[in-house]
């Protein structure tokens, strides 16, 4: 590995650490910056919401006091906060006292990760190929007619698309389930029935995220491809007599993909924000729904835990994208 590559990875890793540091600090600071005793405020809100009559207020108060350690100086609190994080101690849930936040997060994470990974991969690859085709002179009218549709899909927030999809597929046509991760009566086992059931429930949320994103990738790819196709090396490749197929993929798409991957890194945050809301609309058992239920029940440690998890997961994903980048762009590898 050359020195440039090492310094590239070091820089990227530094950015990963910085994002995690900012996220943790924001989580730590905001409740403390606001006026009033955060414990009292939290308890008052919890009681006002009236959702959890079964909660033992004393136990909750003690948990809060122990967690915050508000009688200590700010710096000591901050150090404690980090120490708890490294022990994966994110506090307990009040709605399901005394289940830990970590358990809840680990239960929800695979659902969100699966949904987001599949949807992003499909939307990104389909969108990129479609966008490249749109810029290619030999493409037929049928595909070009898609552009206005793609623009509308890009403009509309995709969790609103999700509501329309539920109405069409689950209410009017009744061919797909409207909500949930699998049938409520099913006991999860690793058999073909469970897998099919999970897939059937994932189909609509996936469709919502894919439809909402494919236009963004297609339009971005189209404008990149247009400028790449104007380059001299494309003319040269054609003059050499290379097949159109080869020019399209190896000379056109490969170069246009570089900025697509950069855009992927920048867009992941908003994709994730949208996916959280799609989960809420579908009541999908991932991090988004966990967050929603926690917000409704004022389950503060769970809210903080989910937020931290979202930020750290995204920073991790970005780091992976950064690791892939040198494979695409040999100029960094050198």
């Amino acid at each position: 590995m050359s020195r440039e590559l090492v310094s590239y990875f070091a820089k990227r890793f530094g950015q990963l650490l910085l994002i995690v540091f900012i996220a943790v600090s924001v989580n730590f600071l905001i409740p403390r910056l606001l006026p009033g005793d955060p414990v009292q405020t939290a308890i008052a809100k919890l009681q006002a919401s009236g959702a959890q009559q079964s909660v033992d207020v004393q136990a909750v108060t003690n948990a809060y006091r122990a967690k915050y350690g508000l009688d200590q100086p700010m710096l000591a609190q901050y150090v404690n906060y980090w120490r708890d994080l490294f022990r994966l101690d994110l506090g307990v849930s009040f709605a399901n006292f005394p289940e830990t936040v970590t358990t809840k997060l680990l239960n929800a994470l695979p659902w969100s990760l699966g949904l987001l990974a599949v949807a992003t991969l499909v939307a990104f690859s389909v969108g990129s190929i479609l966008g490249a085709l749109l810029a290619w002179p030999g493409t037929g009218r049928g595909i070009r007619a898609l552009v206005p549709g793609l623009m509308v899909l890009t403009a509309v927030p995709f969790y609103l698309l999700a509501i329309i999809l539920i109405y069409l597929f689950a209410v009017i046509w009744k061919i797909l389930p409207p909500a949930g991760g699998m049938d409520t009566t099913r006991i999860a086992r690793l058999d073909i029935g469970t897998v099919l059931d999970v897939l059937r429930h994932a189909l609509l949320p996936l469709l919502a995220i894919i439809l909402g994103n494919v236009g963004f990738w297609a339009l971005g790819m189209r404008s990149q491809m247009v400028s790449v196709l104007g380059e001299d090396y494309i003319t040269f490749a054609e003059a050499k007599g290379l097949s159109a197929w080869r020019v399209f993929f190896w000379y056109g798409m490969r170069n246009a993909m570089l900025s697509q991957v950069t855009a992927l890194a920048l867009a992941m945050g908003s994709v994730l924000s949208g996916a959280v809301l799609v989960e809420v609309i579908f009541n999908y058992p991932g991090l988004g729904s966990l967050l929603y239920v926690a917000i409704r029940g004022q389950d503060y440690f769970v809210i903080q835990g989910v937020v931290l998890m979202l930020i750290v997961a995204l920073a991790g994903l970005l780091f992976i994208v950064d690791l892939i980048y040198p494979l695409l762009d040999p100029r960094i590898r050198r």
Partner: protein, 286 residues
Amino acid sequence: MSAFAKLRRGLVERRISGTLILGLSILLLIVLISIIGPLFVDAHNATVGAVTPRRPPSAQYYLGTDSQGRDMLTLLIYGTPNTLKMGLIAGFIGVGLGLVFGLLAGNFGGIVDAVIRIVADALLTVPAIAILVIIAGNVDRMTTNVMALVVASLSWMFTTRTIRAQVLTIRERSYVEVARVNGEGALEILFREIMPNLLPFIVASFVGTVGSAILAVIGLEALGLGALEETTLGNTIYWSQQSAAVLRGYWWWWGPPIVVIALIFLGLFLTSVGFDRFANPKLSRR
């Protein structure tokens, strides 16, 4: 040259594209309806229990009523300006902050530049909703104005990046060099030579920022973190979700707000695409 002649020249040279006109007309239509609309409906019908609940659209209630007994058309007409207002306030503050940070970073360089750039890049990659949830969840009494401020706090990064990059290239242009040789001071160069050239980018950033601010506001409202006592488009969708309006087939409850929101975003999107062409004549030759 009169404004009309300018417009005509723009059209002839194909700088003002159909996209821009379409986008601006959609936005103008929505703004007009928000201004004139309240004259034709009774505000009382937007309060709980004012009309018969769960009526489909009819001659009496053009867009039906929700299950709390509110008239949907009245809700829409009073909700749209509130949603737009939040987007505009957040847009102004976000672009203002972004402009200041971008100018500072691009103009002074060094440690100021490094800090602003690193923080902006880091915040750009963080899912905004995660941080906004923490802030909004800790606000004592949410109003639409507070909501706009909350969203504005994360709306400045994109403008900062754009402005910084532009300042860096404009600084190297020969006319700035000439101004410097002529003895103009640093501030004079900033406001007389650099700022006028930033205008197209400021407008473009503003359109984009308003769009993402409205997106964030509606997202927070859909999570139930909005100003629930006030009428907004996002809150209408939140209440329809709370009453399972989709599964119960009350399409007139969630359908119209979705259409209005979609139109707002479509208008903003077309305006920004069209404006790119307007500000960047090279693009229109393609």
